[in-house]
């Protein structure tokens, strides 16, 4: 299973991507799924197993206001936490 992280702006997505890639975490940039909306059109998708680690790194990097969704089977999304 994967989760999708939404940020307030593309600058934050870029900062988060950098932070996570530095730790070699397997993440992917995706267009924000149409079912979800946010101010920014780009989101980060990652395997659920590394979600906590990723959120920790992102938080330590000073990025707040991250919204997390779980991708559930059938392609829909569910707000997570």
């Amino acid at each position: 299973m994967t989760c999708v992280l939404l940020f307030d702006s593309v600058h934050q997505v870029m900062r988060a991507e950098k932070l996570l890639k530095k730790r070699n975490l397997q993440i992917d940039l995706i267009p924000v799924p149409r079912e979800i909306s946010s101010d920014c059109g780009v989101a980060i998708e990652l395997p659920s197993e590394i979600k906590e680690e990723a959120l920790h790194l992102i938080g330590r990097g000073g990025l707040s206001n991250v919204i997390c969704y779980r991708r559930i089977e059938g392609g829909s999304f569910e707000k997570d936490g």
């Binding site: 593309v10 870029m14 991507e17 940039l29 995706i30 267009p31 059109g41 780009v42």
Partner: protein, 195 residues
């Protein structure tokens, strides 16, 4: 009739094939080329014109027997009544849009992912100049491009450009194409999108 195109650089063999097929009223012509990409390019061209193609490899050379369809000229080759609109994506940079390159790289990634979800996909995707970095080793969009290829989208990378960037041996998705094929695709398109 046999035409020797050995030693001729791309896209000359394709141009020669086109001229030969135009002159030919009916029957077959054999074209000889000395490398696999010329062979593939000529084959693709001939098939696009409705010709039958039979390739035999002999001592490193390729003999392509091109059979012209019976009913008149190449352009008269029967086309189904309703032709789908042809949309071509011409991707001339590894970045989407002009401005910040980090942003451009992200936008390109997201654009290609979004195409996957579209019902009417552009076909082919043409990669030219630094666009060929997207189809080569180390690209972060290979997965999306492979999925597009799996959905029937042709992925064409400019051979000259691959060569220029030292990526000739590193193409990881789609095929090496040439200016002849690229120009033809652009001219035949109803719509060209330039992300």
């Amino acid at each position: 009739m046999e035409i020797d195109c050995r030693g001729k650089a791309c896209p000359q063999p394709v141009i020669t094939a086109k001229q030969a097929l135009e002159q030919l009223k009916e029957g077959e012509v054999v074209l000889v080329v000395d490398n696999p990409s010329s062979s593939e390019n000529v084959e693709r061209f001939a098939r696009s014109q409705g010709c039958s193609v039979h390739v035999v490899e002999k001592e490193g050379d390729y003999y392509l027997r091109l059979g012209k369809p019976r009913s008149g000229g190449t352009s008269a080759f029967p086309q189904e009544g309703k032709k789908a609109r042809k949309t071509v994506a011409y991707i001339s940079s590894q970045f989407l849009g002009i401005g910040d390159d980090t942003l451009g790289a992200i936008l390109m990634k997201v654009f290609l992912k979004t195409l996957l979800e579209m019902e009417n996909k552009p076909n082919p995707l043409i990669f030219i100049n630094s666009g060929v970095k997207l189809t080569s080793e180390g690209s972060e969009v290979l997965e999306s491009l492979r999925a597009l290829a799996g959905a029937g989208v042709e992925i064409l990378s400019c051979g000259t450009c691959l060569d220029f960037y030292g990526l000739k041996e590193k193409l990881r998705v789609g095929i090496v194409s040439n200016m002849y094929d690229i120009a033809r695709s652009l001219l035949e398109a109803d719509t060209i999108i330039r992300p």
